[in-house]
């Protein structure tokens, strides 16, 4: 088998609609399965994407009608990289992923959950084109048992 094989990327553009969150998470779960994650890991990814996309609508657009969210998924043969970008109002400068579960009522629990489900999570504000928020999260596909380890 050739080494430079399994790279691909895909994009989903989401508009403000209640269906956008389920569409986004199901899209991400399908991509995760194609990348080689088992169903449990794909579900973790699905939950993380639902939370991030939901946050984009809730915080960046305040539930308003004009929000657009880009969901880009890139697989390089080892890591699945998911980018979620909104062009809304930046949430809170310096927002980061909590390492500990925040106390009840303090917020940040969704980000904490994303951090627990994914290998890495970064939040960039402003995001692309100097606007909004970009969330970048990655998770590595465990090598299949029969596959020789890659370097």
């Amino acid at each position: 088998m050739k080494r430079a094989r399994r790279r691909w990327k895909t994009t989903c553009r989401l508009y403000t609609h209640p269906a956008s969150v389920p569409i986004a998470r199901v899209f991400a779960a399908a991509a995760a399965r194609l990348a080689g994650f088992d169903s449990d890991a794909a579900r973790d990814i699905q939950v993380a994407v639902a939370e991030a996309v939901g946050n984009a609508y809730l915080h960046a657009y305040g539930g308003g009608p004009e929000g657009q969210v880009e969901l880009d998924i890139d697989f390089d043969g080892a890591f699945l990289t998911i980018e979620i970008h909104d062009s809304g109002r930046p949430v809170a400068p310096g927002l980061s992923v909590p390492r500990e579960l925040p106390p009840p009522g303090r917020g940040g629990r969704g980000l904490y959950l994303i951090g627990r489900l994914m290998d890495t999570v970064e939040i960039h504000q402003p995001g692309r084109r100097g606007r909004g928020t970009l969330v970048v999260m990655k998770k590595r596909v465990p090598p299949a048992p029969h596959e020789p380890a890659r370097s």
């Binding site: 209640p18 269906a19 969150v21 389920p22 998470r25 449990d40 579900r43 973790d44 699905q46 939950v47 639902a50 939370e51 939901g54 579960l101 629990r109 969704g110 904490y112 959950l113 627990r116 489900l117």
Partner: protein
């Protein structure tokens, strides 16, 4: 069953059964931000009837923070009146991460939940 034609209709189905002394709400499908409000409303409605509620999650195929928030909202002030039964791994995983100190009991089955509510099953 509600027949309002919103997006959540297709994602969950809730069936109610009387299992004295409790009401059992059996949820199937995907509990997310679009369907959780309906779940929450149904649980509040059942609580208002005055009986404890067993939320049977055996047929839940997807569950995220929106589902946790719905259960939290109902449990606040009604803590002992709601118990979870037959929660699949996907549900347990999320609860353990974001709500490790939940006062809501998680029982293995509806029968165990009924035993718990009737005073016989309050052991870890």
């Amino acid at each position: 069953m509600g027949t309002s034609g919103n997006a959540s209709e297709s994602l969950i189905r809730i069936t109610i059964e009387d299992r004295l002394p409790a009401s059992v709400a059996r949820v199937s499908g995907e509990v997310d931000v679009t369907s959780a409000p309906r779940l929450q409303a149904e649980l509040f409605r059942l609580i208002a009837e005055g009986r404890p509620v067993i939320l049977d999650l055996a047929d839940v195929s997807y569950f995220d923070l929106a589902g946790v928030r719905a259960i939290e909202a109902v449990a606040a002030g009604n803590g002992a009146s709601v118990v979870l039964a037959s929660a699949p791994r996907a549900v347990i995983r999320i609860l353990e991460i974001v709500w490790p100190e939940s006062p809501v009991r998680v029982l293995h089955s509806v029968n165990e939940a009924i035993a718990h509510l009737t005073g016989g099953g309050d052991r870890p």
